[in-house]
């Protein structure tokens, strides 16, 4: 880890579910662990504090319709044409807008201005997490999952560390472009 980079660590959160006994037996656990990031979302003076789900399976960050309503983001008034996003069971039409995000941590908060979020243009079923997906959130942070790190094997911890670029990417592109052609050995 590069010194000076922002870093925070969190405990997994257990979902309050009672697993069916046969599911628990099949999966080997009756716990569901959610990596939840404490965040503050801000849009034009409206603020909303919540726990966002770190979703390594999502391409982009997603703001549920009802959270957008509370933040006074009106998908209908956003510019651009809606486009389909693959949702659970069916496609959902979404638009894009930028939201200011503050990731909260005991050791100091991390401000991420203008993080792009997909917002459904039509109401969804309630009770959905804000999702932090791969682009651009996971290109900004290294994530380490440490299940089993503690004495409680079912709890564990996970951490976010800000990515620090050590080399400008153009050097690699230039290097590849100018590499001498391989002289094949015969």
């Amino acid at each position: 880890m590069a010194s000076g980079a922002w870093s925070a660590s969190y405990q997994f959160r257990r979902a309050p579910r009672n697993f069916p006994a046969d599911a628990a037996a099949a999966l080997g656990t009756n716990q569901v662990l959610l990596p939840i990031v404490p965040v503050k979302l801000t849009f034009l003076g409206s603020a909303f504090d919540t726990g966002a789900l770190l979703d390594t399976g999502a391409d982009f960050c997603v703001l549920p319709y009802e959270v957008a309503e509370v933040l006074n983001v009106s998908p209908a008034s956003l510019g651009g044409q809606p486009f389909p996003m693959a949702g659970v069971g069916k496609d959902v039409m979404v638009k894009v807008t930028n939201i200011d995000v503050t990731v909260k941590s005991r050791t100091g908060n991390k401000e991420i201005p203008m993080l792009p979020f997909l917002i459904p243009v039509e109401p969804q079923p309630p009770g959905r997490f804000v999702l932090l997906g791969r682009h651009p959130f996971l290109s900004m942070f290294d994530v380490r999952f440490r299940l089993g790190y503690t004495n409680d094997p079912e709890l564990g911890k996970w951490s976010l560390t800000e990515v620090t670029k050590h080399h400008p990417s153009y050097r690699y592109r230039k290097g590849r472009a100018l590499a001498a052609p391989a002289r094949g050995r015969r």
Partner: protein, 75 residues
Amino acid sequence: MTKKGAETPEEAAEPVFAEMSSENLAGYAGEWVAFVDGTILAHGLSLREVYERANKSSPTEPPTFYPVPSQVAGY
């Protein structure tokens, strides 16, 4: 090298959302729950209603809102 006794990021796990334990949220599956300092201010199915009730109850300190999962999901 970590100095002996100093916390590594992994050891310094966040206590910020300690209230979000399965014990606290056992009765709220499928709902939004608003917290301030570990105390539940409001809960319900409609985020808009929970948001307004919680902000009325705690005008100075902003509440934190969680959706409580109601079923096993493949996120």
